[in-house]
Assembly symmetry: C3
Homo-oligomer: 417 residues x 3
């Protein structure tokens, strides 16, 4: 009998260990997928800008990833996940402070993953908020002031509002729901983008007395590569946000994410064709992204048919929103505010309309509160940082540099020879 | 004793659950890999077409993925896997009809994965058949008629013949073997491509009285990116077709798939050099794809040395086949018929020559029957749909539009500025 | 009681099996990630060369992967892992000689993976050493002599020195440590690159009486895609080198690898800005690669802060090294010797400075011995092969071909039309 009991205990421990290994593998795969989204943003944004500003936007994207990872290690992670519930602002100290390091486990009961896995998965998300901004301010922002903005934005602003929800802070305690970050990641980036675009003003020659002059991107293949890579990475972004390899939950997320992206494409296609009378590749691409942003808040808690509807509406929003921003003379070369801010808000509201999260979670009231609270904080933070940079070192290149392009102006280089 | 038994039962359940989690992770990773093949096709095809038709082919590829996923959700999945054995045509109803949804398990005994995992893995395959067609009809097909063709092809034709084999229909019952779809996916796409190319006719200026005029692709880096991404995705396409994470089976598939791709490159290289006297990058790239298509039917049931031979022959076929199609004045800008149809047939025959699948499975007779049955059905379906479109709305752009390019003609846009 | 014991035994077997499945899944995912590094190299190198030599470098990269995989199957694997400890040179026979094939297990005790998984993971590494060379000899090397060099280099040289460490040969027995190949893979490629660059001489017009003429790459987006894909693949390169899915070990490797890459970017940025007064995208990109190469030897055995320091120094080395090679008139169009050789040496030394591997492992003495032994063997091998090719068939294209470009000269083709 003793032998059986010992062996059964050994078997149970081995089984739990095996599940832990499988879970951790999935979270690491998700990490890798989120990482490649940075290439997706880099190619999307460089495809959508003019040839003369390509080196500059690539340089910014490369730097943002590097700055974001390191600053999240030094400060952001312990600001976002201080281990204190219900608060507004708590900091657990510099660096990775878990004494057990890689061997420290997160949530072993449900399969779990290591503390280092947790850090690196969250760390890959962090730089995203700045990358979103970089698209909206492209072709006219000064390099070093922009990188300084990013350093503050990713180190302080993003983790604080992130803590409010994902770190079990006050918004989470109130029942605000945002599965993988329609608000916490995408709207945050979008508010930063809006603040930057407003303070910079439009590109020279964009809004003239004769009307709005389209400034087409220099390479549609690059932009298309970007969107496919972002969709690819989104399987990790949403699928990893389950925070386990739970088969039912992750496979549902895969399905809702995929159909929302596809429906976003169709939504943008239909509005482009019937309202704006064109088969516009840029709109179809941004429609996919809109669908992805839209489903991100509720990918784990809606039916497949709801996901299609959420994506369809998000996609349909894109061409309308892009045109509205243009009418308001807010110049956003890649449509980042439409994709990440407007569809991020839509996705966060969709939680209340379509989500199944039980009593008191994700109600319309608390979702709107969350959107507003994160929005006000983030926009104010970004506006103030950009404004202080503007009145000190300046944030916009001068007109001759803008005309000749930032590649020559900032880098003495060209993207193509 | 009771305690031991209870604990042992608990341990066994936990162990089975852990295996289920690991299995499902692999199937989701395979799904992600198959997804990125759509970017592979988009970049390959856009690299192989002229600069003036790049927006158009990217637009088609983006739309095809979106249409394919949604139509597979609404109709295709339940047409392909109706759960009825041995039949010719059965439809299990619109949408995902499994009442358990994500929690419903497929084949728990062998490790298993969820019903939603099953859907999304198969859904990623579906649009492939249309993407293959899009390459062959590029640079002259009208946009909307082509998308209408795709809607019918992916919604009806692909799932029906897919059911014959993978849904346990009549071909499967007879012993036809096609592991991951040399016939069921690639030849199906190839027959559609052939029907389209025949009804459209060659591009203007391709076959002149002075002989065949090569129309080189506009970007070899894009085409190369495409082939590497397709090879990358094929690890999921073939590796996921094991339908479990069975270590022996999946690792064998990885090895056979890899060596066949490599041998396909060598085969195409040797024929290009010694027969056609050139070091042709396009042929080497298509040789890799030929090797991959060739091994797809038998990747789980041949020796490594057989896989090398299968790939070598597939690769050697490519330059010969491309030249034969040109002599027959069947114009295929990307070589899709050679890669997917001809090598798909070769791979299906190779099952009979090299495969080890036991008595009565994959005999030469039944393999030829399967090739013929799927070929006749698919070619007839595709031909009829294209023909009806041709005599009603027309399928070919007019000559001035073809000359100026479909980017301007259909999209009022350019790929590069 | 008997029932309990039997069930407990069954449960333990099932649990071990589940862990084996999860482990094997991770090793296959790592394999796929290492595979895509070949696309990373192809895009990086083609981005850094002139437009007239793009087809040629893509052709070489495609061929190298194919040759490398097949030669590793026929010879390399059994030369590198002959199963004999402590030796200098042992060969276990042609092909895959494990009688159990895919079902044969490696190291079942620690979770394990199959023999075929072992082969394909290692096989994906093999071609890397030649790909590194291809960058340094670009724009002037003859195609077929270079492919002959690669065949010898990957079939004989790489596996022999690989055996010394990873096959449990003499260097391993002495305590030399190189986790994932700063020396065994990257320096090996770097020594081959140096031998080739020396024997070829610089490109025409690079070093003139008026000084060093920069020859900028033709496409920075391609180069950027390359670096991000390499970083992406490096999660498999380093993460898979744990040779299991051990959660603590793999997640530590993910963290150290990521922060070293990010710090490499910052290191190169700082030196570029403050020493060379420019915001140089190429340097930032190579800084990332330098950080990755630098951490590769010790990613499993240093603290996160040490990893940042290792990466920062590696990145800082890049602009200095690139400039030193230029001053020595050793022309390397992509900076491969700086990235792979110099940072590979640095990473191998860093093991002694920062690593925690226990008594007698990775001491400065044995690390220097390993660097020297592998360096002398590899450089001599590569130099002799290139030299024999030089005095027989020649290794450099003639001046008119170099001027017109190798795309026209060797392939009668152009990368872009």
């Amino acid at each position: 009998m003793n032998e059986s009991l010992t062996l059964a205990q050994e078997a149970l421990a081995a089984a739990n260990d095996a599940k832990f290994v499988a879970n951790n593998v999935w979270m690491l795969v998700a990490t890798v997928l989120v990482f490649i989204m940075h290439l997706g943003f880099a190619t999307l944004e460089s495809g959508f800008v003019q040839k003369k500003n390509v080196v500059n936007i690539l340089f910014k994207n490369v730097m943002i990833v590097s700055i974001g990872l390191l600053s999240y290690y030094f400060v952001g992670f312990n600001l976002m996940y201080p281990g204190v519930d219900g608060g507004y602002f708590v900091f657990a100290g510099f660096g990775l402070t878990n004494p057990e390091g890689a061997a420290g486990l997160i949530d072993y009961a449900s399969g779990g993953y290591t503390y280092y896995t947790d850090f690196i998965f969250q760390g890959m998300f962090a730089a995203t908020c700045c990358t979103i901004v970089s698209g909206a301010v492209a072709e006219r922002v000064k390099l070093i002031p922009f990188l300084i903005f990013c350093l503050f934005f990713v180190t302080i602003s993003y983790p604080i509002t992130g803590y409010w929800k994902w770190g079990a802070g006050w918004l989470d305690a109130m029942g605000f729901y945002d599965f993988a970050g329609s608000t916490i990641v995408h709207s945050v980036g979008g508010w930063g983008a809006l603040a930057g675009a407003l303070l910079l003003g439009p590109r020279l020659g964009k809004y003239t007395e004769k009307g709005i002059k389209p400034i087409p991107g220099h390479s549609m293949p690059l932009a298309t590569i970007g969107v496919f890579l972002l969709w690819f990475g989104w399987f990790g972004f949403n699928g990893g946000s389950v925070l386990s390899a739970d088969p039912g939950a992750v496979s549902l997320v895969f399905v809702t994410t995929s159909v929302a992206a596809a429906a976003g494409c169709i939504g943008a296609f239909l509005i482009s064709k019937f309202v704006y009378k064109s088969y516009d590749l840029g709109m179809a691409l941004n429609g996919i992204l809109g669908g992805l942003v839209g489903i991100t808040a509720s990918a784990d808690g809606v039916s497949v048919s709801s996901a299609i509807l959420i994506g369809l509406i998000a996609g349909a929003i894109i061409p309308i929103s892009v045109n509205l921003f243009d009418k308001m003379k807010i110049d956003d070369p890649v449509g980042a505010t439409s994709v990440h801010l407007v569809c991020g808000i839509w996705g966060t509201i969709a939680v209340a309309l379509f989500g199944n999260y039980g009593e008191g979670v994700g109600t319309l009231g608390v979702q709107l509160l969350g959107i507003a609270a994160v929005g006000v904080f983030t926009f104010a933070f970004a506006f103030i940082v950009f404004f202080l940079l503007k009145i000190t070192v300046g944030i916009r290149v001068d007109a001759p540099e803008e005309t000749i392009g930032l590649d020559i102006g900032e880098h003495q280089a060209q993207a193509y020879t």
